[in-house]
């Protein structure tokens, strides 16, 4: 059974804090993705990675960075959290071949106060 896990389901942080969201997949997938989901805006791509130590900006990378030191792990970093980063964060992975079907983790609901 394919699995993508995220380190926390719920997280509350203060404005200005550095926040780490971790994602691990066990499918040996090459590609990994970070999205945020907001009401009325759907899923928006923050960053993605198609190989270890490689990263590409998505549609809304501002205020975020990522790290991929191992194939199975992809971290999203909020350098200085702000209230407008309160959102549901979703991690996904996909194979490096094929049509790009992505498998998602359960999400992390981040609240920045």
């Amino acid at each position: 059974d394919v699995k993508v896990t995220q380190s926390s389901r719920y997280l509350v942080k203060r404005t200005g804090e550095k926040v780490f969201l971790e994602c691990v997949q066990d499918m040996d997938h090459e590609n990994m993705f970070w999205y945020r989901q907001d009401p009325g805006l759907g899923l928006r791509l923050i960053y993605f990675s198609y190989d270890v130590k490689m990263k590409e900006k998505g549609d809304i990378p501002e205020g975020y960075s990522v790290s991929r030191e191992k194939k199975e792990r992809f971290s999203l970093i909020l350098e200085s959290a702000s209230t407008n980063q309160t959102s549901m964060y979703l991690c996904a992975s996909s194979s490096g071949t094929g049509w790009g079907e992505q498998y998602f983790g359960p999400g992390t609901r981040l609240t920045v106060t």
Binding site: E30, G42, L45, G58, G96, W99, G100, G107
Partner: protein, 114 residues
């Protein structure tokens, strides 16, 4: 610039009837389309897909139709069941492998009533 659009934020259908969810796209380079289903507090799960060389794909109660000339796809659920109540996202991609980044629509919330 929203390249994938779902113009109906919500839809209510009676149990046993057909649910039709619609999606429009603007980028003619998209060649693969997917539907995802999302329950609250869970990640989206893949439902069904279609490549641009086809105009229809069926999987049980779910059928996706693609009209390339109109840049439109739709998901039909027949018969609708209460467990189908969820948010449905359509997504599109260009190319395969490392090029296969998905662009998602804004979602349609389906409510199947008894």
């Amino acid at each position: 610039d929203q390249q994938v659009k779902q113009n109906s934020p919500s839809l209510s259908v009676q149990e046993g009837r057909i649910s039709i969810l619609n999606c429009d796209y603007t980028n003619s380079m998209f060649d693969y389309f997917l539907w995802y289903k999302k329950y609250p507090a869970e990640g989206p799960t893949f439902l069904i897909s279609i490549s641009s060389i086809k105009d229809k794909n069926e999987d049980g109660r779910f059928t996706v139709f693609l009209n390339k000339s109109a840049k439109h796809l739709s998901l039909h659920i027949v018969p609708s069941q209460p467990g189908d109540s969820a948010v449905y996202f359509c997504a599109a991609s260009r190319g395969t492998g490392t090029a296969s980044k998905l662009t998602f629509g804004t979602g349609t919330r389906l409510q199947v009533t008894l």
